[in-house]
Symmetry: C2
Subunit: 251 residues, 2 copies
């Protein structure tokens, strides 16, 4: 059967999702746990290849296994084998044609910035610290021009390997909470390599006055990575959710 | 001059606030940073001796120094000398009779419990995980009987060294947020050793049905530590704030 997994992880200590030589990754830990549980080598496929230091409230992975263990119990067995900073939140059986990457129709990311005079050690693992005052309403307005289907070449790492730089952003909103955390919440059909972090780096420049609101549409249409702001640091980024149309999740 | 400091810290890696032999404490790190900054041995006094693993959004400390450095700049200089998980949020001059411990008239603690099926690695440093379903409204009602001035012997560690077990709780409320975090927020004129964690351990038993709401006033009047619930784990506890009447805080 094909097993679907939802995973939450603190990315602080990992070199990202994807297996690579000479570095510990989330996928490697998951492969090891699954292989140990079923006593044979099993490789998992992930939905989103999060970068080093990026967190997830819900990344999705799947694997194939021949077992009599009920799929919904696999989460408990895997959590006994995973390090504490990776936790399976749900496991269930899915059809054999389920593909975590190609089937994903909507992803939501949050980029969180602690905006005050001094860092808060209780938030530093999951936010980017920025001490200059940010005008989050300006950032929110500037971000709105990114909503829709566009060629996001300006907001992709030059290292991106892709056939097309066209993606669709369904929604982008910037808010500020009472604890001085400015959150950029962005939802779209998919994101290019470093895209959310480059959007965050650009909106940060707008928020502190280094760029104007009106610059953002110009950057978008320039199709030039050099025009956008820097890639914001990874620890502020969390993959919040992934949606698969037609997939029924039990309560 | 006497310098007042507000400190935030992640208590995960520390053996609590107070200096002790053969263990790294928050106060020791602060003493080292202050002594290094001014080039002589300086000892700090703290308001609240938080336990090993307990966090603070705002603990208060003070020290005496003869310096021409403006008091409000000391925060920046200390943060360059402190580990990343301890951050001075504010420094200012106070009168020579200011005492962080005796002058504190109100402290607020939050005890946070993540109540769901699986842990969340993004919250595990700052919450206690509890998978059995909690009736937070029942916990809230049960906690209300602790409000007021009482002898809290039943809710104090038997290791407490104190002349009086009488304390006043001004408010105690239990709430639940959308992220499955149940928070016990308690405000009082002072707390006995382990008092908030024993209250939390007792209310947890009420929340999952091991104790009844009506048991809590009986436990309070029994003046017997054995009657209350266990001491809840430290990582769920955060010292949120301390209030000094008459102390003027600049913006």
């Amino acid at each position: 059967m094909r097993v679907y997994l939802e995973l939450a992880y603190d990315g602080t200590l990992y070199s990202g999702w994807q297996v690579q030589p000479n570095a510990i990754t989330v996928q490697e830990c998951l492969n090891d746990a699954v292989s140990d549980l079923f006593g044979c080598e099993i490789l998992t496929q992930g939905a989103s290849r999060t970068d080093a230091g990026v967190h997830a409230r819900c990344n999705v992975a799947c694997f194939d296994v021949d077992t009599r263990m009920p799929a919904e119990k696999i989460s408990y067995a895997l959590n006994q084998r995973l390090p504490e900073d990776i936790v399976v939140q749900r496991s269930m059986e899915v059809s054999a044609d389920f593909h975590p990457r190609y089937g994903a129709k909507e992803k939501t990311y949050a980029y969180r910035i602690l905006n005050r005079r001094f860092p808060d050690p209780l938030l530093s693992r999951y936010t980017t610290f920025f001490h200059q005052e940010l005008d989050y309403e300006k950032m929110n307005r500037a971000g709105k021009c990114l909503i829709g289907q566009h060629d996001f070449t300006s907001f992709a790492s030059v290292k991106s390997q892709t056939d097309s730089f066209v993606r669709e952003i369904y929604d982008l909103a910037v808010s500020r909470d009472e604890g001085d955390v400015v959150t950029i919440l962005v939802r779209g059909n998919g994101f290019l390599y470093n895209m959310v972090r480059i959007i965050a780096g650009t909106l940060l420049q707008v928020g502190c006055g280094l760029k104007e609101e009106e610059d953002v549409p110009k950057i978008l249409s320039a199709l030039d990575r050099e025009q956008a702001g820097p890639t914001a640091p990874p620890q502020g980024l969390t993959l919040e959710s992934i949606r698969y149309p037609g997939l029924e999740l039990p309560q």
